[in-house]
Each structure stands twice: as structure tokens, then as C-alpha cells.
């Protein structure tokens, strides 16, 4: 260690209590930031996973333009064989084919316009949580059975229950009149009113028969083991599209643009609060370093008389602050990782959330994860602001006059 570094290090410990108080403020802020940001990122991950798990999946194969304008005729041909071949090629991914149409669903008393989804009953539970949210009855079975599951709100609106029949009236792929009578075998309750009011599911084979799909469908839904894995597998899925096909693969961000916007909005408000915390710490450092510089004015006069330039003195103060900041960074990051890891092992349950989560088929505890980004981002900003706070005391040294400084006691 050279003498300037040694001098900076020892200067820090001239007033141990003051230094530890400042380091303590940084450590507290950094620990809190690492924990809060890790929690926030973990929550976002859970939020994305749960939203996508409900229905959307991590990605979908669709006909071009279908995402923005869902027209019946924008189909994926031979959708079941395509899904089967992808399942064979990507055994780690969960893949299911769907068809989608709009129909008038009528009970004895009432009629409502709803979205009818044709699903593969054996594969749909792997890409969607709706089959697990059946509150009454069971999920659809078989490929061609004329049975249907409906949302709880829709069942209430239509005044129907298990075993009742619904008449579906719609338009087929070829423009012809599509009609069928299906039996309600299950009622699901996702807790999302729009989903529970507007969606019903029937087996894909039956869907293709009713709507004259000729083996076609509208979406191949793909779920990867994790969100990160999904990003990695997307280009491989794109590459696996049939030769000459114009099918497109959309990731979750494109399928659910509102989700990312909601996360961004939440992040903005959270980071505003973090910003206030960082500024408070910066003022603490400013106070410490300003005190430290003022009380050493005489000493700075001496070293200037020995030939040190104001810039070199400024660098000494910045070096001291850097060391101070690094101690706060390391201790705070360790504290944050330890705290996050504790909740990573034991899980975190927010009061009132457990019951709600259980109702909606969501995990009742959040298991936090400290990622390199969540560990580094907060303490780095604190460190940066610490250096900025020290700039003022350091810049003051440029105005220092050796003789006047030496007269100071």
C-alpha cells in the first residue's frame, strides 16, 4: 500500500465513531436497497410468471397479424401435428395448441358473447393454470367431446351449473354458420373478472369440428421452465418453424405489453423512494467529509507548503471517500444478500396475501432471490452519490491558501 493510500485509510479512522456512523448509514441503506430491490425483482418475476401461467404462456406461435387483429381466418394450419413435432424437438418446454373463436353462448334464460377456446385437454394444464382453478366439476376431457368449462362469472350471468347445456352460435372459418350444443362439465374461478366472464374452453377437436377449422388453430402456446430459459429458447423455436412458413413467434412482452408497463410504473415509484434514501445517505457523507476537511484545514496548509497541489489534496479526500464508500458497499451488500437469502430459504409472506394467493392458485410465499443486478444496483448508486457528495469538500480545497490554512487551528 503506498503512502497516500495509507494516509487516506488512517485519516478515515481518526474519528472512528464518526466513520462508523457514516459507514453504518451506508450499510443500512445498502442492505435495505439490496433487500428491497431483490424483493421487488422477485415479486415482478412472480407476477410475470403467474400472469403468463394463467393463460398466455411464455411465447406463442401465431399467424402474422393475428396478435393485433384476431381474425378467424388467420390460422396456423395443421396445428396439432405442429405442436406435437415441437414437443418432440423441445422436451423441456410445455407446448399446447389452441383455437379461438367468438360465439354467442345461450342458456335457457340468457345469452352472452364470449371467447371460445379449443384446447388440448392433456397438454393445456401444462401451459395454463385455468385447469387447476376448477371450483366445481372437472376440466374437459378427450379430443372431440362436446363439453365445456366456463368462468364463474359467466356461469352466474347465464344462470347455469354443472350438467346444464349451452348453445353456441358463431361463424366458421369458411364463413358458414357454426352452431353446437355443449354440456357444462366444470366452472373455474381465476379471480380475474374479465377471464371468468368472457372465456370458455372446449376440446380442440370439438372446436375444429364446430368452427370448420380443417385441422387449423390459432395459437401454439409454449412455456419454458423459467422466464430466463424462455428468452434463450425463443430463437430456437423460431428456427424450428416449418420451411416456407410465415408463422411468427411472439414473446410474452409482445403478448402482454401492459404487464411490462405496470412493472415499469411500479419501479418508477419504488425507485423514487430509493432515491430519497440515497440522497439522505449522500448528505450524511457530505456532512462527514466536510467536517473532516474543515478540521484538517491547518494540516492541508502544511502539506500545501510542502509542495502538494490542491488537486492532489482533492484526490486524497476523494480517495478517503472512495474507501468509505467501498466499506459501506461491501458490508451493505453482504447484509442485503444475507437478509434476502434468509427469505429465499424461508419465504416471505405478506399479511393478507396468503389467503388471496391460495384462492387464485398462486404460491402463498414469495421466495426472494438476490441476483447480481439486485445486489449491485442499489449500492452502486449509493457509492456514486457518495463520491458526488464528497466532490464539494474536495473542490473547496482548490480555494485553499496555504498561509491562511496554516493560521487555522
Amino acid at each position: 500500500m503506498n503512502i497516500v493510500m495509507r494516509l487516506a485509510w488512517r485519516n478515515l479512522w481518526r474519528h472512528q465513531r464518526r466513520t462508523w456512523l457514516t459507514v453504518g448509514a451506508m450499510m443500512f441503506a445498502n442492505t435495505l436497497l439490496v433487500f428491497m430491490i431483490s424483493m421487488q425483482f422477485s415479486m415482478y418475476g412472480l407476477m410475470i410468471e403467474n400472469t403468463l401461467k394463467l393463460f398466455t404462456g411464455h411465447m406463442q406461435i401465431q399467424a402474422p397479424g393475428y396478435k393485433d387483429d384476431q381474425k378467424m381466418r388467420q390460422t396456423v394450419a395443421d396445428i396439432v401435428p405442429l405442436a406435437a413435432s415441437l414437443r418432440a424437438e423441445f422436451p423441456d418446454e410445455k407446448i399446447a395448441a389452441r383455437g379461438q373463436a367468438f360465439a354467442l353462448a345461450s342458456s335457457e334464460d340468457r345469452s352472452y358473447g364470449i371467447g371460445i377456446f379449443g384446447v388440448e385437454p392433456e397438454f393445456e394444464p401444462q401451459v395454463s393454470s385455468i385447469p387447476g382453478l376448477i371450483k366445481e366439476g372437472r376440466y374437459v376431457r378427450g379430443k372431440n367431446a362436446t363439453e365445456i368449462v366456463v368462468g364463474a362469472v359467466l356461469a352466474r350471468n347465464l344462470r347455469v351449473g354443472i350438467g346444464d347445456e349451452l348453445t353456441l352460435l358463431g361463424s366458421g372459418l369458411d364463413g358458414s354458420f357454426a352452431a353446437a350444443v355443449v354440456t357444462i362439465v366444470g366452472i373455474f374461478d381465476s379471480g380475474v373478472v374479465d377471464v371468468d366472464r368472457n372465456i370458455a374452453q372446449i376440446p380442440l377437436g370439438a372446436f375444429q369440428d364446430i368452427f370448420f377449422m380443417d385441422g387449423a388453430g390459432h395459437q401454439v402456446v409454449i412455456s419454458a421452465p423459467t422466464l430466463d430459459a424462455a428468452a434463450a429458447v425463443l430463437p430456437k423455436i423460431v428456427a424450428a418453424m416449418p420451411p416456407g412458413s410465415d408463422l411468427v413467434v411472439h414473446d410474452w412482452d409482445a403478448l402482454q405489453p401492459g404487464l411490462k408497463q405496470a412493472i415499469k410504473a411500479d419501479m418508477s415509484s419504488a425507485f423514487f423512494m430509493y432515491g430519497i434514501l440515497v440522497i439522505l445517505v449522500a448528505f450524511s457523507v457530505l456532512n462527514t467529509q466536510l467536517m473532516s476537511v474543515l478540521e484538517r484545514t491547518h494540516e492541508f496548509g502544511i502539506v500545501m507548503s510542502l509542495g502538494l497541489k490542491p488537486g492532489q489534496l482533492g484526490r486524497l479526500v476523494m480517495l478517503e471517500t472512495t474507501l468509505l464508500g467501498l466499506i459501506g458497499f461491501v458490508l451493505g451488500a453482504i447484509g442485503g444478500v444475507l437478509l434476502t437469502s434468509y427469505f429465499g430459504v424461508n419465504g416471505l409472506s405478506i399479511p393478507g396475501m396468503e389467503e388471496m394467493a391460495a384462492n387464485f392458485n398462486l404460491p402463498t410465499r414469495v421466495y426472494l432471490e438476490a441476483t447480481p443486478l439486485s445486489v449491485v444496483i442499489g449500492p452502486s448508486v449509493v457509492f456514486l452519490f457518495t463520491l458526488l457528495a464528497a466532490a464539494y469538500p474536495a473542490l473547496r480545497l482548490y480555494k485553499l491558501h496555504p498561509v491562511e490554512a496554516m493560521r487555522t487551528n
Partner: protein
């Protein structure tokens, strides 16, 4: 070429509503290898003159030359460079850096000068031995007596063999024995290395060591005597 040349220096301080003339048309010339004492009662202008020669304070008018450079027009940075390379300072209050050991205090200036570590270590140990502090190199200022601290300050001032050493009341806080030892050290350095010394003092014993004694009063030179050193 003179080691120090001051031409018609004037410096006025404002104290309350009063103007104090610290330097009043002062002109002196000191040859290389000179051993000069500036003597004056408190407020007589000796420290102001010393500070002007060292580039620590600027005169209101006049010229200050160190070796062949006019320094009263130099920038802060250039003055710092000059002090670092050519001038050593010894202060009344020692003014060591309290968190550094004796050896680190001496090496600090050399490090700023860019002297390699091995050379710094060699020079600092040699100078510590020269000023009689061998074995105390790892002590911090608070662990040394006033005399020992002043010797470290002297070692720090002369370790880079500056052409000029400026000392402001260097013996004010020392007992007579330590003062004599310090002045003997100054004399030896002056004789062996031809270092120019300018010492501000009102200590008669210190004046006795000087080859030349300049007396000041109210910012003016009132006497300039060549004398045989003690």
C-alpha cells in the same frame, strides 16, 4: 546568481479597521550557501518575508526571485512544484502529519515527487540516521518528544536536498540543548551540502549560528550584518 532575491517588497494586512505594513519596501539578496537569520519582534514582518520567499504568500508589490525564477507571478500549481522540488520548510509547530510514522512523514514528500519506493526507503532511513532518529522510524508524532518531532520535520524538509530551506521559529518549542543540536544539524547541512538557510527567529542563541543577521522592524530592514558563526 543569487539563491534568493527580493526587490522592493510591500505587503499590507488589514486588521480590523487598521492597515498593518508587514513588508515595507524590503529588498534583500542571499547568495547560495547562505545561512541567514531574520530577526524581528512579533509582527515585525519576518514570517511574512519568509512566506513570500517560499511562495506561500504573495506580496502586494515588488519582485521575489528564487534561483533564477521570478516566483511572485507563478500560478498556484507552479509554486507548489517549486516548493516540492527546491524549497524545504521547517515550522515552529513541527507540523507533521499525525497519522503517519516518522519514516512515512519523510517519505510522503518523496512519494509526491515520484521517487521510487526502494529509493524512498533508502533515503528516509539514511536521513533518519543523519538527524539521530534511527530506531524511531515507526513512531507516530504523538509518540515522540518535541525535539524528535522537529528533527523529523527537518529530515522531511531536507531529504530531497532542496537548494533552500526556510525555517520559521524552528527552536521556539525546544529546550536549549535540543535547540543547539538542531542548529548544529542546520550548520552541518549548510556546510556539507551548501544548502541555503533562511531562519526567522527572535532567539539570540539561534542568531549566533548565522553567518548573516538581518534585523527587521515594522516591516522594514533596519540592520543587515555579516557575522562569524558560533
Amino acid at each position: 546568481m543569487a539563491a534568493v532575491r527580493c526587490v522592493d517588497l510591500c505587503k499590507t494586512y488589514r486588521q480590523g479597521d487598521q492597515d498593518i505594513k508587514a513588508l515595507d519596501h524590503v529588498s534583500i539578496e542571499i547568495e547560495p550557501g547562505g545561512f541567514v537569520c531574520l530577526s524581528a519582534p512579533s509582527g515585525g514582518g519576518k514570517t511574512t518575508l519568509l512566506n513570500a520567499i517560499g511562495g506561500l504568500d504573495m506580496p502586494d508589490s515588488g519582485e521575489v526571485w528564487v534561483a533564477d525564477r521570478r516566483i511572485d507571478q507563478l500560478s498556484k500549481g507552479a509554486l507548489a512544484e517549486l516548493r516540492l522540488s527546491s524549497i524545504g520548510f521547517v515550522f515552529q509547530a513541527y507540523n507533521l502529519i499525525p497519522v503517519l510514522t516518522a519514516r512515512e512523514n519523510i517519505e510522503f514528500v518523496m512519494q509526491v515527487q515520484g521517487v521510487p519506493a526502494a529509493e524512498r526507503a533508502k533515503k528516509s532511513m539514511a536521513i533518519l540516521e543523519e538527524v539521530g532518529l534511527k530506531g524511531l522510524e515507526d513512531r507516530r508524532p504523538a509518540e515522540m518528544s518535541g525535539g524528535q518531532q522537529q528533527r523529523v520535520a527537518v529530515a522531511r524538509a531536507i531529504v530531497s536536498r532542496p537548494a533552500l530551506v526556510l525555517a520559521d521559529e524552528p527552536t521556539a518549542n525546544l529546550d536549549s540543548k535540543t535547540s543547539d543540536e538542531l542548529m548544529t544539524l542546520f550548520t552541518e547541512l549548510n556546510e556539507h551540502h551548501n544548502t541555503t538557510f533562511v531562519i526567522a527567529t527572535h532567539d539570540q542563541r539561534v542568531m549566533g549560528y548565522a553567518k548573516r543577521l538581518i534585523r527587521m522592524l515594522d516591516g522594514r530592514i533596519v540592520d543587515d550584518i555579516e557575522q562569524h558563526a558560533a
